[in-house]
């Protein structure tokens, strides 16, 4: 799976590389942002130095380092939105409900297994996992329940 290098070696450069190779994001697409690593995860924030304060969070957590691989967050993929050029699947309402119910949908994407952006009605709504020509949702349970109630 892309981004499955060992944990110790994962740095900000690996995060950029993953975004580019998996989702086709170019650095210039998000040049007003910077990526920092904090508490083991990657955060997207504005391109500005931090004053010396004790922070609870800096920007938005958008890539998690699970130890085995890099996993994008639903919020992170929503921000990247229209800039995502690959590993993106468009789903119908019925398919989205299936995913949010915890079931899988079939898709032949012709890409390596790994995380994908789920798009519904032109908007990226969150993160999914593509494996063995099946897609499952990785949208957090709470957010998935909220979304299901709106469909």
């Amino acid at each position: 799976m892309p981004g499955s290098e060992s944990r110790e070696k994962l740095g900000v450069k690996d995060a950029w590389k993953y975004l580019n190779e998996r989702f086709g994001i170019r650095k210039e697409d998000i040049e007003s942002y910077k990526i920092i690593k904090k508490s083991g995860d990657f955060w997207l924030t504005s391109n500005h130095s931090e004053p010396d304060l004790e922070y609870e969070t800096v920007g938005i957590r958008f890539l998690r380092d699970t130890g085995k691989y890099i996993k994008p967050t639903t919020y992170g993929l929503q921000i990247l939105g229209g800039k995502i050029e690959s590993a993106i699947i468009e789903v119908s309402k019925k398919e989205l409900i299936t995913l949010l119910d915890g079931d899988m949908i079939e898709r032949e994407l012709g890409i390596e297994k790994g995380y994908v952006a789920i798009e519904y009605e032109g908007d990226v709504v969150g993160c999914g996992l593509y494996k063995d020509e099946l897609v499952s949702s990785r949208i957090s349970t709470g957010r998935a329940d909220e979304l299901k109630n709106l469909l």
Partner: protein, 292 residues
């Protein structure tokens, strides 16, 4: 609320609005997330919606449907916010690239508005001293894609002073009469005013120390009490180097009061702004702007 009869000119309208009506639900467009077709989508969901007359980012929904239960809300395309509550950030007017401090940021309505006006560029410190309220602050920052926001958990009176800011919002903890009026139509008690006004003053005093020369502080509350509004502003201009600036705005409002009961606040208070519930069928709000 009867104590405010002498300072609220249109008392009847004020009383009727508070007692008989629900506030008009309003949402603020979040340009960090909302696409070009935002209005079409909004009007699709809320056909009676209309643009606010003074803030083009705000829409009054005119609907009984919950604004918090829509796909647009889930995605962070809008933020549910009382129309009057969007004034302090409009008055602060932060620019992309600036260093901005939101001293009392939770639950995040004004911080996400700051991030939007800053186009996620620059530095936004979103501070709140209440650790429990940080959860909702984080949730709103994430949902709206406000990546410029860095969250801290200091007592606003003791934020370290190494960093200086271009603009600071002190949306101070207050007795909340502007929102409570629709529920109880009762004013807060004297001790509450006393305690809160002391905290409010100290917050602005620390903000002054954190502000760059020529920087701007906006002080706001959602209460009617002059003890927490004009009295605090009067002390600030007497005891600090801050000067009070006139607020020019198209929002329906009245000017700050120059006297109340036996207290005299001075003619400068006419530079500040009061919004009453009947002005916008919204909550109450008080706003003052200082420059260093």
């Amino acid at each position: 609320m009867e104590r405010y009869k002498p300072i609220i000119e249109d008392w009847q309208a004020f009383r009727e609005e508070c007692k008989n009506k629900e506030a008009v639900k309003a949402v603020r467009k979040n340009p960090l997330k909302a696409g070009d077709n935002f209005e079409d989508r909004l009007f699709d969901q809320f056909p009676e919606a209309e643009k606010s007359g003074w803030n083009p980012q705000v829409y009054r929904l005119n609907s009984k449907e919950s604004a918090g239960k829509s796909m647009l809300h889930w995605r962070g395309d809008y933020y549910v916010q009382e129309e009057s509550a969007s004034l302090p950030v409009e008055v602060l007017n932060p620019q992309p690239g600036e260093k901005v401090l939101d001293m009392c940021a939770a639950p995040g309505g004004k911080t996400t508005q700051l991030a939007a006006k800053m186009e996620n560029k620059g530095l936004l410190i979103s501070n709140d001293d209440n650790a429990q309220r940080l959860k909702s602050l984080h949730a709103n920052i994430y949902r709206t894609g406000s990546t410029v926001a860095r969250v801290t958990n200091y007592d606003g009176r003791r934020i370290p002073k190494e960093q200086k800011y271009d603009r600071i919002l002190v949306d101070a903890p207050c007795s909340g009469e502007g929102n409570n009026a629709r529920r109880t139509f009762e004013s807060a008690d004297e001790h509450e005013y006393e305690n809160l006004s002391e905290i409010q003053q100290k917050l602005v005093e620390n903000a002054e120390k954190l502000l760059k020369d020529d920087g701007v502080i906006v002080y706001s509350t959602c209460t009617f009490a002059p003890e927490e509004n004009e009295a605090v502003v009067k002390k600030i201009i007497e005891e600090t180097d801050l000067t009070l600036e006139n607020i020019e705005t198209d929002v329906p409002h009245v000017r700050g009061v120059e006297e109340f009961e036996d207290k005299d606040f001075g003619s400068e208070m006419s530079k500040t702004v009061r919004i009453y519930p009947h002005h916008l069928q919204s909550g109450g709000m008080y706003v003052a702007r200082f420059r260093k």
